[in-house]
């Protein structure tokens, strides 16, 4: 019985994937309509999973509070904030003044400060990069970072000849070329992963 269930699940996944894939390349009216319908279902499901994600978040933090684990206070604050935000935004509307106040005065400062901490951490690790290992690639990395940073700044009357051009060349030629190569590899990996899912040999959806 379980095997039959698994087989049905796999069959649905495979057939759906094939319809969407073929429908994307060959725009026959029947296939196109079927593809659009399936994609609409997918979009609705993805929107619903957003709510499921919120529920899961609440579950995890509630459990943390119940079990009196370390950091339980922060979980309590999280749950209270969630509740207050849902009430305010639900009652007044997402673009109302109270909602914008919460967004401008709480969410944006917190998110921005996380990015600020990130900046400090990146500089700190950049300083210690060569401590980890003095090798050619670490040195090249550091030199590239310094060239790009110094090539970006612009002081009136202060300009190192060629530095900006070098910085622009680095960001637009080798960096982009390398990035494209990596992205091509990632794309091939993604195709392979998708192919395994379509073939049923890789099942991220359980057994």
């Amino acid at each position: 019985m379980r095997q039959l269930k698994t087989s049905i699940v796999v069959a649905i996944a495979v057939i759906t994937g094939i319809i969407v894939l073929v429908g994307y390349f060959i725009e026959l009216p029947v296939l196109k309509n079927l593809r659009i319908m399936l994609l609409h279902f997918a979009v609705i499901l993805i929107a619903v999973t957003l709510i499921v994600g919120v529920v899961n978040l609440v579950q995890v933090h509630w459990k943390k509070i119940q079990n009196r684990q370390s950091g339980g206070v922060y979980s309590l604050i999280l749950l209270i904030s969630l509740l207050v935000t849902i009430i305010v935004v639900g009652y007044f509307g997402p673009t109302s003044t109270p909602s914008l106040w919460i967004f401008s005065n709480i969410q944006i400062p917190i998110a921005s400060s996380l990015i600020a901490v990130l900046t400090v951490v990146l500089i700190y690790t950049g300083i210690r990069l060569l401590k980890r290992g003095f090798n050619f690639f670490s040195l090249l990395f550091m030199v590239t970072v310094l060239i790009v940073i110094l090539g970006t700044v612009s002081f009136q009357g202060f300009r190192i000849p060629g530095l900006r051009e070098l910085s622009t060349w680095i960001t637009q030629v080798p960096a982009v070329g390398g990035a494209r190569g990596i992205l091509l590899g990632v794309a091939l990996g993604t195709i392979a992963t998708g192919m395994r899912v379509l073939m049923g040999s890789d099942r991220p959806y359980g057994r």
């Binding site: 979009v43 499901l45 957003l50 994600g53 978040l57 091939l188 990996g189 392979a192 192919m195 359980g206």
Partner: protein, 257 residues
């Protein structure tokens, strides 16, 4: 729609679909060849060797593994890295389900959160110890990138994590996760399909999975035939793309194209 329109549609479709079909057949052929060999012929990736060691050490020392699946969802190209992470999650759980502290999986997107819980549950079902299954071992720690990073930081700092595996779609916030791991003395293995995250990861950890190495976990940890075959297929197409780029570049330089 007349005959010419129909032909255009089919012609354009054939190019794309043809690529996918060729990929499929090369994978099948590779799988047949791989099955005939005794040992899979793939190069060593030191990061995966270190990861296998650290998994064993974590089980023995009663510490926890943390697998972070990123904030990409299956509705985009970032879904590939998320699926790769899910595949690794299952393998991890098969190796460590009886540990004192089973691995914890965090994700930054609802669909991946659901799939991670489903994957963990399926492993417990498979081995027949459903009573050990804890739903909170697969958790959504944030629904957008920054809250996800903040939530995952709490997991790394509070839950006796010995090994951090960051495999998925990240932005530059991966730096904070790697830094937290370093503060805790964890081994951090990072891999992302995002270029910025890879650049940042290079600075933070020696155990970085670059590019498609992220998708190779299934061939190195509890390898399966199809995973190894897909690696060979990727290699085949990579060389093909290199050849096409070189030929096209040469033709362009020569003024032919």
């Amino acid at each position: 729609m007349n005959y010419l329109d129909y032909l255009y549609i089919v012609d354009r479709g054939i190019q794309g679909l043809g690529f996918v079909l060729i990929f499929f057949f090369v994978m099948i052929i590779s799988a047949i060849i791989v099955r005939r060999r005794d040992k899979p012929f793939i190069r060593e990736i030191p990061t995966y060797s270190k990861l296998k060691q650290s998994i064993s050490l974590a089980v023995e020392s009663g510490q926890r593994l943390h697998l972070s699946l990123g904030s990409g969802g299956i509705n985009s190209m970032q879904g590939g890295s998320a699926l790769a992470g899910l595949s690794l999650l299952k393998r991890l759980y098969r190796m460590t389900y009886l540990s004192d502290r089973p691995p914890v999986a965090t994700s930054g997107e609802g669909t991946i959160g659901i799939l991670s819980r489903d994957s963990i549950r399926s492993v417990y079902e498979e081995v027949g110890v459903m009573e050990e299954y804890e739903p909170t071992t697969g958790q959504v720690s944030g629904l957008t990138p920054e809250p996800y990073i903040a939530g995952t930081l709490l997991v790394i700092l509070d839950q006796h994590v010995s090994t951090n595996i960051l495999m998925g779609n990240y932005n530059s916030g991966i730096a904070l996760l790697a830094d937290a791991g370093e503060r805790r003395g964890c081994l951090t293995v990072a891999g992302s399909d995002n270029i910025t995250a890879q650049a940042v990861g290079y600075v933070f950890t020696e155990d970085l999975l670059v590019g498609e190495e992220l998708f190779a976990s299934g061939a190195y940890i509890q390898p399966s035939t199809m995973h190894v075959a897909s690696l060979h297929t990727q290699d085949f197409f990579r060389w093909g793309i290199v050849a096409v780029i070189l030929v096209a570049g040469a033709l362009k330089l020569a003024g032919v194209m």
